[in-house]
């Protein structure tokens, strides 16, 4: 279980890093779609492995992205996800 959780954490960190890159860019159609998918994946996975707060913020980012919010509105939640995934499960 710890091995699976470790792999999941690595994957979610990679997803959050990519999400942060996307949110710093234009968020045009394709980029926004990719960002929604990444936020969705983190929302679904992080909480399953104990990172509930990161999951909640990823879900907020996903909803904002899907609703067409601009990058400035989404960025704080993405930064929070990245930060939370660097710490212990919470």
């Amino acid at each position: 279980m710890a091995l699976i959780a470790g792999r999941a954490l690595d994957r979610n960190r990679d997803r959050a890093a990519r999400l942060e890159e996307l949110v710093k860019g234009d968020l045009d159609g394709e980029a926004r779609d990719e960002a929604v998918t990444l936020a969705h994946q983190v929302a679904g996975s992080a909480g399953t492995f104990g990172y509930d707060a990161a999951s909640d913020d990823a879900r907020t980012a996903m909803d904002l992205l899907a609703d067409g919010a601009d990058a400035a509105e989404v960025a704080p939640f993405v930064e929070s996800v990245r930060s939370l995934l660097e710490g212990p499960p919470a």
Binding site: M1, I4, A5, R7, A8, R11, T37, H40, Q41, A43, G44, S45, A46, G47, T48, F49, D52, S55, R59, M62
Partner: protein, 131 residues
């Protein structure tokens, strides 16, 4: 009525979700578990192993979960297999968008691995009592 352990097909494009769900269902629930990482693979595996229930992720690249559900229902070999959707788009599983689908229920992601077996049983029991 309690549905006995049987054979579950877990479908998710995220390896770690498939792995943790498999571990939980096998160790906690005593279920036999097959898995698939995509919609097309799920259709093949479902046809081969005829599981007692499919846990199906909604948002997958390529063929998504709802399309996969439709294909399962079109195939006489898999049409009657109960399907439980798993999605981070649901908070409770009771949202209107899931109503009217031919499913046994919805499990919201994230999920507690230790409670997954119980939740699957609850949904299958509820489905059996509706039948």
């Amino acid at each position: 009525m309690t549905v006995p352990p049987g054979h579950v097909l877990v479908v998710d494009d995220d390896d770690s979700i498939r792995e943790v769900a498999t571990l939980a269902l096998e160790l906690v629930g005593g279920w036999r578990v097959s898995s698939a990482g995509s919609g097309p693979e799920a259709l093949d595996v479902a046809r081969d192993v005829r599981p007692d229930v499919v846990l199906l992720d909604v948002m997958m690249p390529g063929m998504d979960g709802l399309t996969t559900l439709g294909r399962l229902r079109e195939d006489p070999a898999t049409a009657a297999i109960p399907v439980i959707l798993m999605t981070a788009k649901a908070a409770t599983g009771e949202e209107p968008e899931w109503q009217g689908l031919d499913i046994a229920g919805v499990i919201a992601k994230p999920f507690d691995p230790m409670s997954l077996t119980t939740r699957v049983r609850e949904l299958l029991d509820a489905r059996a009592s509706r039948a």
